[in-house]
Amino acid sequence: MSQALFTYTLRLADDILILSQRLGEWCGHGPILEEDIALTNRALDHLGEARNLLTYAGQVEGKGRTEDDLAYLRMERQYTSVKLVEQPNGDYAHTMVRSFLFDAYHLPLMQALTKSKDEQLAAIAGKSVKEATYHLRASSEWIIRFGDGTEESHQRAQAALDNLWTFTGELFENDLVLEEMTKAGIAPDMTAVKAAWSKTIDEVLAEATLKRPEDGFMATGGRKGLHSEHMGFILAEMQHVTRAYPGVSW
């Protein structure tokens, strides 16, 4: 039970940590100053949630690992995030579509998790819901602007959507860990989360005049630590200071 809870909490943490790291890459490079601030704000929100979850995962594991140990001293294969969040930023449409696909999943997941039988997860989710609501609003508005904007912005948003769609299946993958957590009333019913996700996607894409891609091949493996070629570079950048100066603090 505690092994499954550890794995489940770590998955929640890894998704949001890697997305935060990706969004953080825009810091100082945003299309305009205001958007630069707005996006890095959201990256920091994600990081805050990741910290709470990592700290809790360390407590559940009971081996004395801290949030820093888990974030900075795990190898690529030990990361359990979905492949969606590690995909490169690309242009701004690609970054926003990636966030939108995730935010539309993250909000109903957090809302449902507030009713988790695990009090700590429920409390962390309760804290995240307000932020997640704003994140989804912000990324949705960009999807609508891009999709319903100029010919070029429409094309770029559709290209990003077509490119990233294959990574959405993994968000709702079932396995023994999730089954055990769902049975225990800790993880929510993911069919309901998927229905909410799907509804948001349809509504926003309709307003954005974008076309929802057909479900085809869906990428998998992230939950087992099998990542795309991008993951190593993300971790190298994220971990190199801790690796170079073990135990350093600032």
């Binding site: 305009i32 205001e34 601030i37 707005a38």
Partner: protein, 98 residues
């Protein structure tokens, strides 16, 4: 604004109300494509540290200002008109809050 790059999004003036019941105060300006975006950007730029509970945005071009060179003719004539201040009333005995 003639010095603005024409490719930039328009400039908006941001007003934040820090507490219910207080005035909205001008806090600065930012660029945004439309009013919705201006409000969201204002949320991220000006309310990060719990400064506000309500936001107004106004396109900068809609604000008309008096000209600095008018200052003398506008404001100086008030200098010698003390009778415009309520300083010539005798305060009733015991009145504290006037």
């Amino acid at each position: 604004m003639s010095s603005e790059n024409p490719n930039n999004w328009p400039l908006w003036e941001i007003f934040i109300q820090s507490k219910r019941g207080l005035d909205h105060k001008h806090v600065g300006s930012l660029h945004a494509a439309d009013a919705d975006m201006a409000i969201e950007n204002a949320r991220d730029v000006y309310t990060r540290r719990q400064e506000g509970n309500s936001i107004w945005v106004v396109k900068s071009e809609h604000i008309h200002a008096s000209r600095p060179e008018d200052a003398e003719s506008f404001y100086d004539p008030a200098d010698d008109k003390v009778y415009r201040h309520p300083t010539f009333y005798t305060m009733p005995e015991g009145a504290k809050y006037i």
